[in-house]
Point group: C2
Chain length 305, copies 2
């Protein structure tokens, strides 16, 4: 039983107050897969160019990630570069070269189609929907989106998320999607669009979880050093969904236990926090499950009273 | 055994997206005292003018607050008015008439001086210090300050808080006071200035507590309707200190239990949240301790996993 993760695999150039890297492995699908791989087996759906490096494929292999759904096309891999503000709460995009990503048309290998868990990274909603249609017997499906799709592809997005079990977005996107400034009422409206579970990510302030029977809040983790926030939201998603897959949740047999959903949000927060400790995906070269579980317990100490 | 609360008693004019009140009871000391009165006996030190209304004194009396240290001078009571932004995260001051508050020189009645708990609202640091010097046998003392005193009265402020057990400020003030943008390092620097316990208030995002043995975080409470945030920080302080007084904590006998400090932060959050539900002090006309304890348990459900 695996988690199918869909989205971009890219090369990123990133500058933060702590340093600058001209080119390194990145992309939502990469971060999701690396993060989720600590909890469950992951199969990815993505596209890369001829320049995709052997060492980067080796990193995915080392985490036992199935890359048979990662198509390699003539041309270059998606490249993005950006620079973060001094407090790292904002970033400016310097360059976006879609390259082969412009032709991304997810085609799932046969052995992917019967997997129970699907996590759709932030790509065009119609592509997310096409993945959903190729799957049979999906137990739990959800994903991410962003302001661009909410503003300019609203109908397509609404048709897509109508079939999802959960949606992960940040607070400004939740307000934009719902037209409600109050996050509780925003959550109600979004859950009425389809996803019965909504996770609102708030960066350094933590995350909120809404479901039919209530809500849950986790504060942000106070990192000793935040090197590079790129990918933190995707690592959150990977940890969240990875843990639900590890627990083998199945909404068909009844609502997911609220405590399991809460723990999934905490594992998401843990994975997002580790991601920021090094540039790009570097933290995942050494991270162990026991470090993850130790930080999960830190969250328990940090929040219990 | 009482809590001595010091600060402004004022009349406020407030406009928020939910309404407008031309003149109502306000002031940091008022909010602190009303909030703390649900946990312990409170004695206030303040100054009002001849216009201070009987009904407002009656409200304080109804909460069994000792007003013998509230001096009444010829002239008018401190008046402040302001208008909040649409999201209520910012406010613009329209008018500040100090009136008799300009002459505030706290003089403690004899029966105040031996009380064990002292909470100093946001006033000039030298006045806060003068209260400290009038007390004998203080067990626990702390208070609030603001960017104005940090910027323009730094030396006086540092001399004042050097003798405090705890300091309550917001995150931008913590960064300003410490010169550190990282809140963990900011907290270390501030605790080295004197207060062994630091509470950083983050508005809708909750609060952080730092002490010698670690830190604690509580998320914000998602209010159904936020009518007027005026006084929320003071109510937080009143709930925090009120609960510590109720528990009878005494740092002289050893460090305060971390769980008690955490619960004090949660009671602070509870009181801040109730404050925002109505304009001015209105919520305290009907609020009961059982409602407070019920919301405290809601915080437990909201954060446990």
């Amino acid at each position: 039983m695996s988690l199918v993760a869909v989205g971009s695999v890219a090369y990123d150039g990133v500058e933060t107050p702590h340093g600058k890297v001209e080119r390194m492995l990145g992309g939502a699908c990469t971060y999701i897969a690396l993060s989720a791989s600590y909890f469950t087996h992951v199969k990815i759906v993505a596209v890369v160019g001829e320049d995709f490096a052997k060492e980067d494929r080796n990193l995915l292999d080392s985490r036992n990630i199935d890359t048979s759904g990662m198509e390699q096309l003539a041309g270059k891999t998606f490249f993005w570069s950006g620079v973060y503000s001094a407090d790292m709460n904002d970033r400016t995009t310097l360059r976006t070269d879609l390259n082969v990503f412009a032709e991304f048309d997810p085609k799932l290998p046969e052995h992917y189609k019967s997997q129970p868990y699907v996590l759709l990274g932030n790509i065009q909603p119609a592509l997310q929907h096409s993945v959903k249609r190729q799957m049979n017997g999906t137990r739990l499906i959800g994903g991410d989106t962003m302001n661009y799709w909410i503003n300019d592809f609203r109908q397509e997005l609404e048709e897509t998320i109508r079939h999802w079990d959960f949606l992960l977005i940040n607070d400004s996107e939740a307000r934009l999607l719902s037209g409600e400034s109050h996050l509780g009422r925003a959550a109600e409206k979004i859950m009425a669009m389809g996803p019965r579970t909504l996770i609102i990510k708030r960066g350094e302030y933590g995350a909120l979880l809404f479901h039919a029977r209530g809500h849950f809040a986790v504060p942000g983790y106070l990192l000793d050093q935040l090197q590079d926030p790129t990918g933190a939201g995707d690592c959150f998603a990977g940890g969240f969904m990875g843990y639900l897959a590890e627990e083998g949740v199945d909404p068909a047999t009844g609502p997911i236990d609220a405590k399991i959903l809460g723990r999934a949000v905490v594992y998401g927060s843990v994975m997002g926090s580790f991601c920021c400790e090094r540039f790009g995906v570097d933290r995942f070269r050494t991270l162990t499950r026991s470090e993850i579980d130790k930080r999960f317990e830190e969250f328990r100490n940090l929040t219990s009273f």
